[in-house]
Amino acid sequence: MSNPNVTNVIVAGVGGQGVLKASDILGEAIFRRGFDVKKAEVHGMSQRGGSVKTDVRYGEKVYSPMVPIGECDYLVVLSADQVEINRPSLKAGGVLIAPDAVDENRLTNKRSLNVALLGVLSRHLDIPEADWREAIRVNLPEKIQAVNFEAFALGRNS
């Protein structure tokens, strides 16, 4: 039933972890690569430490911005306690990228876990590294860029 020409990614976690930022970077990298892309998220009450989830869909032509349940190709989860509640989104054979996909102790700043997990995701997606770097650059203030490039590399090479 699902559309084979669209790739579905979900980034999930809890408020304050940088879920929205990670999906902004992901959306931007895909956008730079030239795909049609849509990104859906819910703001508001969800920011106060509650569950946060964003959907990113891309391909030649994307209609709905929301990933249908059971059709997610890549599920990136920033908080261990959010894995189970998001698992039903994943399609059979879809890839789960859980927070332990990178060794947190090797992060210079633990807050860049979001970008490190994007590094892990990047190994699966057909997006040149230059687009990722540019997406990180335009989405983060200058003073935290270096540490995030490092985090991205850690995930990408792990």
Partner: protein, 541 residues
């Protein structure tokens, strides 16, 4: 301030949320004023408009914002007013009558609905307002359309001389999709007030004429609805399945039923009767798929046409690709439910926490209000007993005090935030002094120096305008005294927690009218506020 020339040039491909796209269109149309009050999911429209150099303002509430917008549009300007769905209730009074008077310039009212209530107290359907007030309505389905339809709505508003709605929903506001802006449109004509007493002064004699004129205009616009390309057909599925839809739902339908013919109503009120009739009569099975109330289905039914509509369960919540597949499959089996996420909580260190701990300890009956502090209803506090709409805490508390037995009445406390107080608490306080309960009353104003819930917006009490420039600062304690509250206290809930508790306990015992302003900045806003104050060269306390 970002780059207007960039936008003026047009052409560049951008990844924008619907809210960002509306803001950009406002700049490209050289809108003279954007007025509103914050409310998810509409808030970022004016913030982005301001960041792009547009003149934007937060008003104390939506009614005032719409009135200011009406005045500017009477003066010939292009104006945007933004609100969330429930804000339109607050602004409904001027809305219904500006439809009669019309405007000289352009007035586009952006109303953002929240089906599924990601961050709202109800899921009312603003499409009903278009019909009730007689205001034409556009419904974008993505950010490009949000951009294009903002421009078109401004153009139409000017041409028709009527206010026009741009109705968006959470998924349009907060989804990012690709937009190619066109750049600046033609410059607005110079502003000027043209006296038109029968047209603008709605005494009954003039209003009777104005109402007839409005209905005639709507009849003419309904013919336009049949010719405009905003109402268009997609798919070449043949005659077997046709779907009529609007807004974001169109996108889900395209995914759920690629084989269907779709009539998409980008301009959804007045409905294009001719197009709908043709579509329905040329498809064997025709299904109306819409989020929220069955508004289109009712309108089409009233035309004497037979169409299928969703079953009652789909009135609730958002639609999605999965749900639309079920509607089309006529699948009435229970829907699978996703596991529930973690609920939001008051931040650790939130200045609201102490007050709710005390209210719980004192076993108060708390008539609450809307803001971050509504989270005081959840464990561990569970210290809120009612929440209706912004400002209701005071009136509801007074009503209870009037009728319940004295021992219960003495436990009633109204709790309201600072932004909410300015929005619609002031009149409640006037009521408190005017129709005073026998046992007196206590209102607690939680003044955290910001509109935290919607993302830290300024309001009159912060002394800064939407773009954080300094402005006259409303002094809440002065308002309390001025309306006749006998005892007004200002207490820091961290530095003077014992005093806070004693004051609450003592106020409940007395027959006096008391207001306690619990003042301490929101911890998330604190750093931001400090930075702004330093930039403004006036560090505050």
């Amino acid at each position: 301030m970002s780059n207007q020339s960039d936008s003026a040039a047009g052409g560049a491909r951008l990844l924008l949320s619907g809210n960002e796209a509306i803001a950009r269109a406002g700049v490209d149309a050289q809108v003279a004023l954007g007025a509103g009050y914050p409310g998810t999911p509409s808030t970022e429209i004016l913030e982005n408009f301001s960041d792009l150099g547009g003149p934007a303002q937060w008003s104390p509430n939506e009614k005032v914002a719409l009135e200011v917008a009406i005045g500017a549009a009477y003066g010939g300007a292009r104006v945007l007013m933004t609100t969330k769905h429930v804000g339109l209730n607050v602004a409904a009074d001027p809305l219904f009558t500006v439809a009669y008077t019309g405007v000289a310039g352009a007035l586009v009212i952006v109303v953002a609905d929240d089906p599924g209530m990601a961050s709202s107290q109800n899921e009312q359907d603003s499409r009903r307002y278009a019909r009730a007030a007689g205001v034409p309505m556009f419904e974008p389905a993505d950010s490009q359309e949000a951009y294009d339809m903002t421009l078109e709505a401004l153009r139409r508003s000017q041409e028709w001389g009527l206010p026009v709605f741009l109705r968006v929903t959470t998924r349009v506001c907060h989804s990012k999709t690709i937009v190619t802006p066109h750049g600046r449109i033609d410059a607005p004509t110079p502003t000027h007030f043209e006296r038109d007493i029968p047209g603008l002064v709605m005494i009954p004699a003039y209003a009777r004429i104005a109402h007839k004129k409005l209905r005639e205009q709507l009849a003419a616009i309904s013919e336009w609805a049949d010719t405009t390309e905003w109402n268009g057909l997609s798919g070449s599925g043949g005659p077997s399945l046709g779907v009529i839809t609007s807004g974001i739902v169109y996108q889900h339908v395209r995914d759920a039923a690629p084989e269907a013919d779709v009539l998409k109503l980008g301009f959804s009120y007045p409905v294009p009767e001719g197009k709908i009739r043709d579509f329905v009569t040329t498809h064997e099975r025709c299904v109306v798929i819409e989020e929220g109330d069955p508004v289109l289905a009712e309108a089409i039914g009233a035309m004497g046409l037979t169409v299928e509509s969703k079953s009652e369960r789909y009135r609730f919540g958002e639609l999605s690709v999965e749900r639309i597949r079920r509607i089309l499959d006529r699948d009435e089996s229970p829907e699978p439910s996703m596991p529930k996420g973690k609920p939001p909580q008051l931040c650790v260190g939130c200045p609201h926490r102490k007050t709710f701990e005390i209210l719980k300890e004192l076993n108060c009956i708390v008539t609450g209000d809307i803001g971050c502090y509504t989270l005081g209803v959840l464990p561990p506090f569970q210290a809120m007993d009612t929440c209706v709409c912004m400002g209701a805490s005071i009136g509801v508390g007074l009503g209870l005090r009037h009728v319940i037995p004295e021992d219960e009445a003495r436990r009633v406390v109204s709790v309201i935030g600072d932004s909410t107080f300015v929005h619609s608490g002031v009149t409640g306080l006037i009521e408190m002094a005017y129709n005073r309960p026998r046992t007196g009353h206590l209102t607690i104003i939680l003044d955290n120096g910001t509109t935290a819930m919607t993302g830290m917006q300024e309001h009159p009490g912060t002394g800064r305008r939407l773009n954080h420039d300094p402005a006259y600062q409303l002094v809440i304690e002065d308002v309390c005294r001025a309306v006749g509250i006998e005892r007004t206290f200002v207490i820091d809930p961290v530095k003077a927690v014992d005093e806070l508790k004693d004051r609450i306990a003592e106020s409940l015992k007395s027959d006096a009218l008391s207001v306690i302003i619990v003042r301490r900045p929101c911890i998330l806003a604190l750093a931001k506020i400090k930075k702004i104050d330093t930039a403004n060269g006036e560090p505050k306390g």
